[in-house]
Amino acid sequence: MRDDHKHITQAELLLALDDELSPRRSAEVQNHLDACDMCRAAMGELKNAAGDFDKAYRDNANAPLHSAASSRAALQAKMAEMRTNRSRFAAWRAFISGSSLPTWTYALGLVVLAVLGYGLLRAPTPTGMPGVSDVRQDPIIPDAHLTPGVVRSVSAIDVCRPGAGEETRPPASVQKAVFHEYGMDGAQAQGYEVDHLITPALGGSDDIRNLWPESYSSTWNAHVKDELEDRLRNMVCGGQLDLTTAQRDIARNWVSAYKKYFHTDRPLSHNSDFVEDDKPPKG
């Protein structure tokens, strides 16, 4: 329990400064600050240091290369292009489905549609930026045919050695092959990372059948999967779960596994309220 009569730690003063405390604690800290010159002074120092850094950071930033207007125009053009591609496609779709024309016209339409569709899917946009063709569902759960999950022959004892199974990035050529098999070449691969389905920390292999492109930005993203991997490894190494079960559950459907082992429907890190913990930051 915190004691109202003790001074506020610097860490908590910063949380108060950044308005990151719970309303109750925030009020307690404010009461203390009203009465304690020392803590008020300490908070002032933190505030100055943080404010001066913010200013140094901004003052020393490079100026943007282009004007906002030209960048905005470029963005608008690309979005318009995506929309136009869509209307062209939709028009063809309407034409084909509502058609009372002779069969050969229909067949021709299909051919044209196929060509157009292929162009949309494959042709890079002139700017080199990904166009409408890059849009696909994030492969949150890997394709079971492409990425069934492959393990090395290791035991729980091997896996639980300190430092065993450090995650390493697959070589560029392998990453490229993974993106390719998922139909995500080039720019389409941006925002994704080639990840192990069964993490090496749980005996997963570097085989391409254990690799898939994982999104950074979806709700069920790579960071959430990391949480699951840590949990499973802790359970395996703590003797609460056998290694094979852990491997099978994560390979079968890691999102279901997350829900099962964390007893939740949503990724915890996304909806938890602020909880103070003493873990050092990763990286």
Partner: protein, 193 residues
Amino acid sequence: MASQSANPGTEAAFLGAIDAALPLGPEAIEEEVVLLFDEYRVRLLRYVLSLGICAQDGEDVIQEVFLSLFRHLCLGRSRENLRGWIFCVAHNLALKQRNKNKRQQQRAVYEELALEKQLDPAADPEEQLAINERQMRLLQVVNALTEADRWCLYLRAEGLRYREIAHTLGLSLGSVANSLGRSIQKLARADER
């Protein structure tokens, strides 16, 4: 969330999703994206350049971020913590670009303080010099931090809440708070000589 767990999508799925993106049509989403672009462009650009990519790459990254946002919204994906989402995508794209450029040895923008930077004409010269010395000391402290600690500071300086920083960097809230606590205490001690 249900829409995300479905089978791999296709062109048609996206187009269908665009049609189904009610109540907002793609035109409305486009307008919204432009508004967000205007609001965040400078901050995002500053942040991605602070990760050590060049200005041209930074501009490309920003374009890509907002196109991704356009797709994200057209697909009816979550609007929760959108600012965290935007910074997260920008962060990851910038790091990817930086890895690509590694050979070219891009130099980090904040590793040096440009003394010839335009000075504030209102302040008197002695005061300006003092500001620069102090900034120099602060930036030296920052350069001695780990990269993740620096990122937290930059994102805080861009006005992000801790949960948004956590989302961007894939850290827990506690880790973000600890990192910032440590770093800002170090900054506060930068003047103790």
